[in-house]
């Protein structure tokens, strides 16, 4: 063993480069095991929490299982559930609602407000910036149900909501019907967006703070004003965090429904604020007549998962995330 370690091998080992192709079978087997050993834990998580539930969901969506017949053997009914889904008169509305909810919240809050907060709090004295971000994080530390119910108490229509009770004629004379009564979408998106922005804020802040100070000094000397520094230096330098947050939050908003469930239950009226994930939940667990249509709910869910997967692939390709993985190279000065 020892005598076969020539200088070349040592050099490759030192930089972690792959060895020559003349390795013995035993060594190759060992290398493979090592690779899978490192990948194992992550693959296990994906398998147990994504692949297996996904398969169960597909199987379930092909049955007619509900709380009415759960003691009977499963009956497979082919694609009937899917036909029912796409024939649903409210299907287009739910789809529109979902796209509206996801991208409005994403652009104005999870990306937009987050970026503004990060840019502002990194441009004021450090201590104040830190304090301000801490305040903005407080709702994250509150159980989301408590946070949502607090806003609900504030935003409900007169006589239930605090705001509308106190100021029925203020802000556009809404007749005590501002927020949840008058503009439920705005209220839902605001409530969710204020919390949602804090995640991006933290990521963007650390990315902005890791930009070398010299670069900003250089840009100032070169003649850039605040806006040009943000546009030409800061934004390009935090490109990857921006793309990551865009991708992650799109997918996470697609599946989020607890804010809408607790604030409006999809209302007021018919499906006004109902999104896809909420429909899946309601069909499966919260039918009016006490009949939980598990299989039909699973059908809504599996369509959502498929859309999310496609979106994920599109994001990865569109944003060229593979460029993040670079071949290691030794700097020669």
């Amino acid at each position: 063993m020892a005598q076969s370690l020539d200088k070349d091998t040592l050099a490759r080992a030192a930089i972690g480069a792959p060895g020559p192709q003349r390795g013995t079978l035993g060594r190759r087997v060992r290398n493979t095991f090592t690779a899978y050993g490192f990948l194992g834990p992550a693959m296990g998580l994906v398998l147990f929490f994504f692949v297996i539930p996904g398969i169960l969901l597909v199987v379930l969506s092909l049955t007619d299982l509900s709380s009415a017949n759960f003691s009977d053997p499963w009956t497979f009914i082919g694609l009937d559930n899917f036909e029912r889904l796409f024939a649903d008169p409210f299907f287009p509305k739910i789809l529109r609602n979902t796209v509206f909810y996801v991208f409005t919240t994403l652009i104005f809050f999870n990306l937009g407000l987050a970026l503004v907060l990060a840019l502002v709090t990194t441009n004021i004295p450090r201590r104040s910036g830190f304090f301000f971000r801490l305040i903005w994080l407080l709702p994250r530390l509150t159980p989301s149900v408590v946070y949502i119910l607090m806003w609900k108490r504030i935003g409900q229509a007169d006589p239930f909501g605090i705001y509308n009770q106190l100021f029925p004629e203020f802000l556009g004379a809404s007749g005590g019907n501002l927020f949840l009564g008058g503009s439920p979408w705005t209220f839902v998106i605001l409530t969710n967006g204020f919390v949602g922005a804090s995640f991006g804020m933290i990521i963007f802040t650390s990315a902005l703070e890791s930009i070398p100070k010299d670069l900003i000094t250089a840009a100032k000397v070169d003649g850039a004003n605040v806006w040009r520094i943000i546009r030409d230096i800061k934004l390009p330098m935090i490109k990857w965090p921006l793309l990551f947050i865009a991708t992650y939050q799109t997918l996470s908003l697609l599946t989020s429904f607890e804010y809408i469930l607790l604030l409006t239950e999809g209302g007021p009226g018919l499906f006004t604020t109902e999104v896809w994930a909420l429909t899946a939940y309601k069909r499966a667990f919260a039918s009016y007549f006490g009949n939980s249509q598990w299989a039909f709910g699973a059908t809504w869910a599996i369509v959502l998962v498929t859309v999310a997967l496609l979106l994920a692939v599109i994001y990865v390709k569109l944003f060229k995330f593979n460029e993040l993985i670079e071949e290691p190279r030794i700097e020669n000065l």
Partner: protein
């Protein structure tokens, strides 16, 4: 452009970065700010650049106070130790950035960038990404970016510290030649006294936020006004001894338990006012190796034992123990000094420096 810095101060919550600094830089000169880390040289530079706001004093360009002028309107170019190149832009993108901010015509920009790049010897690299360049090339891009907008004042913040030794030597010469050719007033921040000595017309030596001396390099070397300047300027550094000046039979002697030297009257008399111990400084090269034929008079020699010998190529740097007191001397390597040798040194006493140990001020060059 003439740059006048007057009583300039900067402090943060009681921490003093620069304290009452006054420096007058004539048009076309290159001035080095020299000092160890944390001495305030970069703080002062950033105030000249307009990045830091002074807490006191003024900075004037050609007689116009610029304290309130934004960096972009100061007509300055800056080169950084870290190069501070924009990594997401190409070489062309980096050099053209100041011109693009001025919204110049595209053709003009292209022409100016090409001219500067050719001057810097990177004319064929304009399409490259920054990450594809070597350190030396990156520093040239950085220099090009600073020069392309034809600044009135160039600011260098330790521009060569990240380069390897050989490249540093080359770039040192290039920057100096470029600066003289273009005649742009320059400030050069460095902790390397050789860089400061070789490149600058005048050097501002700083320590702990205070300007210690501002003079031409030779003056700092031959007539250091403070103990700090004497110790910081010159490599290998000056040797210091605690001595007492005594006058016997019309001769002045510098004496301690280890040393007894006759010193010149003109120097000694200036030190006479100080009672008790004073600090005597002696540069390693102001000592010659005495062989048998030398006829140095009594009182001009020191004898000791060589304890460390460091060959520097042309000379040997020898650490000599003189009755227990350490002294570094430069000696001709042909003398072949070995560790343990007993050696006799002839001191060029006309070059020695005398300082008041309390005030750390020179007794010779007030």
């Amino acid at each position: 452009m003439r740059v006048e810095i007057e009583n300039l101060s900067k402090s943060w919550d009681g921490v003093i970065g620069a304290d009452n600094i006054t420096i007058d830089i004539p048009d076309g000169d290159m001035v080095a700010f020299l000092g160890p880390s944390g001495c305030g040289k970069t703080t002062t530079l950033l105030m000249v650049a307009g990045i830091y706001k002074p807490t006191g004093g003024t900075i004037s360009f050609d007689g116009r106070v610029v304290n309130e002028v934004a960096p972009k309107d100061r007509g300055i170019g800056m080169v950084f130790q870290s190069y501070a190149l924009y990594p997401h832009m190409s070489v062309f993108g980096n050099i053209s950035y100041p011109l693009r901010l001025q919204k110049l015509d595209k053709g003009d920009i292209k022409q100016k960038v090409q001219k500067v790049a050719d001057m810097m010897g990177i004319g064929d690299l304009l399409d490259r990404k920054i990450a594809q360049l070597s350190g030396g090339q990156q520093q040239r891009v950085s220099l090009g970016r600073a020069l392309v907008k034809e600044p009135q004042l160039l600011l260098f913040d330790e521009p060569l510290s990240n380069l390897d030794a050989r490249l540093r030597l080359t770039m040192r010469g290039e920057i100096k030649r470029l600066q003289k050719d273009l005649g742009i007033t320059s400030i050069y921040v460095t902790h390397d006294q050789i860089e400061a000595m070789t490149m600058a017309d005048r050097i501002a030596v700083m320590s702990k936020g205070v300007l210690q001396a501002y003079d031409v390099p030779e003056a700092l070397y031959d007539r250091p006004k403070t103990l700090f300047v004497a110790g910081f300027v010159g490599n290998p550094p000056m040797n210091f001894f605690d001595v007492e000046i005594m006058s016997t039979n019309g001769e002045f002697r510098a004496r301690s338990e280890a040393i007894d030297l006759v010193i010149p009257r003109d120097r000694a008399e200036k030190a006479a006012a100080v009672k008790g111990k004073i600090t005597m400084g002696l540069r390693p090269e102001d000592v010659t190796f005495a062989d048998e034929s030398s006829s140095a008079g009594a009182g001009l020699t020191l004898t000791g034992v060589a304890e460390v010998v460091e060959p520097l190529g042309r000379e040997d740097l020898v650490g000599v123990s003189i009755n227990g007191v350490e002294m570094r001397v430069l000696v001709d390597k042909t003398k072949g000094v070995r560790v343990g040798n007993n050696i006799t040194l002839v001191v060029n006493t006309s070059k020695l420096q005398l300082f008041d140990p309390e005030t750390e001020q020179s007794l010779l060059w007030a």
